[in-house]
């Protein structure tokens, strides 16, 4: 009886549709990963990860590229974390919701979060490389990435701080604690999982960046000896191998695989931090 019911058929169609769409999303991701594995896994070895690039990347490894990427990332995070944290604290703790300045800062962040990375690249080149005279360097690239990662980092950290129950703020105030004591002893520790997640999201955004780096940290594939040297990031290496280097496809695939694995690892750390630590706290309260 139930099978002939038109409502049953409609529900069945709906179920097929949502399952089908979800399967195609997962499928395209698996295809992507499979494609990379198929073409790139053969190149992967300890030697590939550590050796210097040779013959414009057609042979050799990506050791210098990995080091450059991590250096750029480190510069970006060292600069972005204190700036972002301070702004998030200002927005969530120091100003009332209707404050004009806070609204302006919030609007700027939301616009910046949507600005294409190539625009950040041009800004970075004009400001850091040319105006400040940093040239094509890891420092310039890292600073540009810091600007790019800041909006998402600030917004996530701000949301994390806002999620800390007001009970604790009032409790701290009622005990005569100063604002800085409340922040350092209660609010920031309570928001740590969200802050960690914000940091990971920022890192994720910075790691995958190509356009903003071509103009700022450049594409010299040698091992950098200082932050003032130009350095090639993983994403730039992939772009160069696949667009400019004939016969570099296999290594481009392998590099992409390394980048994707790194991103998946970082994203999972972010998820784990956000869910595990946060839920433990919620379960306790």
């Amino acid at each position: 009886m139930a099978r002939r019911n038109p409502r049953f058929l409609r529900d069945l169609l709906l179920a097929l549709l949502v399952w089908g769409v979800a399967a195609s999303v997962a499928g395209s991701f698996l295809w992507l990963v499979g494609d990379m594995l198929w073409h790139g896994a053969g190149q992967l070895s300890w030697n590939f990860l550590t050796a210097a690039t040779e013959n414009a990347g057609r042979s050799g490894g990506i050791g210098s590229i990995l080091v450059s990427t991590l250096l750029i990332l480190a510069v970006a995070m060292v600069v972005a974390t204190p700036l972002g944290l301070a702004t998030a604290v200002l927005l969530s703790e120091f100003v009332s919701p209707g404050n004009r300045f806070a609204q302006l800062v919030g609007l700027s962040l939301d616009v910046l979060a949507g600005v294409p990375s190539i625009v950040f690249g041009l800004f970075g080149m004009a400001f850091f490389s040319v105006f400040l005279g940093l040239g094509f360097s890891i420092l310039a690239g890292g600073l540009t990435l810091a600007c790019m990662a800041l909006p998402i980092f600030i917004r996530t950290a701000e949301a994390g701080l806002r999620a800390v129950p007001d009970d604790w703020r009032r409790g701290a105030a009622a005990l005569g604690l100063s604002r800085s004591a409340a922040l350092s002893h209660i609010l920031l520790p309570a928001a740590t999982p969200a802050l960690a997640a914000a940091l990971m999201l920022g890192i994720g955004r910075a790691m995958a960046e190509t356009a903003a780096l071509i103009f700022t940290s450049g594409y010299v594939d040698r091992m950098p000896s200082s932050l003032a040297d130009s350095g090639r990031a993983l994403a730039v290496h992939i772009y160069d191998l696949s667009m400019n280097v004939a016969g570099g496809d296999a290594n481009a695939y392998a590099t992409a695989l390394v980048l994707v694995v790194l991103l998946i690892v970082i994203n999972n750390i972010a998820l784990w931090l956000a869910q595990n630590l946060l839920q433990k706290r919620i379960a306790q309260s």
């Binding site: 009332s96 009970d167 009622a174 005990l175 002893h185 309570a190």
Partner: protein, 286 residues
């Protein structure tokens, strides 16, 4: 309203001295000496009046209960006493509040010192997400107590005062959030007592607790009489009647609360002067 009434309880041990400190150290009696004087207090949220024209004296060492229906400004009144209203955007307070002769809303008032003198307990227990020990010691450290022995002594004394010591002495480093609701509330009271306040403001401290825990906390509040000046907001009329020396009845007219009647607890409950009070305490309204 400002006329000084008769003492509300009989002095014990032949002394009327008011004491701050452990229960054993002195007699427990309240004195009809105003420690908080409120005159012509009005409070607005973004221009909308929430309290108007409140005037009352709160007597040293006594328990004063504030009763009345929800939304009549009792909590707002309580928060204005330790300037917690400062935290609420758009909240303005007018009129006079004097504690020990000092104007609370004077711009020169040291708010942190004021809040140390006037502790507050909230409806929902709010221990910090720290260990039991750190919950008590962190505020002490921030108020300048640095010596380890002093910190440990004060922690034990405060926990003993609220009857929590024997329950938690073996797990002081456990997270405070694993305690039961009643234990959490007692920890919050201990945290406030450790700072040696003179006045304790309590905003429905029992309403989020089960009846057993509520009874324990109520007994604790009784023990505070004479050692601290307690102002308690409660919706539990029987509780107000059991513990309070003085009672104030708030009522809201067109969303603006005001103090209808204030007097000795017995008088408010047995011979209310105002018909609204009579209707409320007899359960006919509110």
């Amino acid at each position: 309203m400002t006329k000084t009434p008769e003492p509300c309880c009989t002095p014990q041990n032949g002394s009327e001295a008011y004491t701050v400190g452990p229960l054993q150290s002195g007699p427990a009696c309240c004195e009809p000496e105003p420690v908080i004087r409120v005159t012509n207090l009005s409070l607005r949220y973004a221009g909308q009046p929430a309290l108007e024209n409140v005037a009352l004296d709160i007597y040293r060492g006594c328990i004063t209960a504030l009763i009345g229906p929800s939304g009549c400004g009792k909590t707002s009144f309580l928060s204005s006493l330790n300037r917690l209203t400062d935290l609420i955007p758009g909240c303005t307070v007018e009129g006079g509040i004097e504690i020990d002769g000092r104007d609370v809303h004077d711009p020169d008032t040291d708010v942190q010192a004021l809040r140390r003198q006037v502790g507050m307990i909230f409806q929902k227990p709010n221990p910090f997400p720290l260990s039991i020990r750190r919950n008590i010691q962190m505020p002490l450290r921030e108020h300048g107590v640095r010596a380890c022995t002093a910190l440990e002594e004060k922690t034990e004394a405060a926990l003993r005062d609220v009857g929590l010591w024997d329950e938690v002495r073996d797990r002081l480093d456990a997270p405070a959030l694993v305690l039961s609701g009643g234990q959490q509330q007692r920890l919050c009271i201990a945290r406030a007592l450790a700072l040696q306040p003179e006045i304790l403001l309590m905003d429905e401290p029992c309403s989020a607790l089960d009846p057993l825990s509520s009874g324990v906390v109520e007994d604790l509040i009784q023990d505070l009489r004479g050692r601290y000046t307690v102002v308690i907001v409660t919706h539990n009329l029987a509780q107000a009647r059991r513990i309070a020396n003085y009672a104030g009845f708030f009522w809201a007219k067109e969303r603006t609360g005001t103090l209808v009647e204030f007097g000795q607890c017995r008088q408010i409950f047995e011979e209310p002067a105002h018909e609204l009070t009579a209707a409320y305490v007899s359960g006919m309204r509110g």
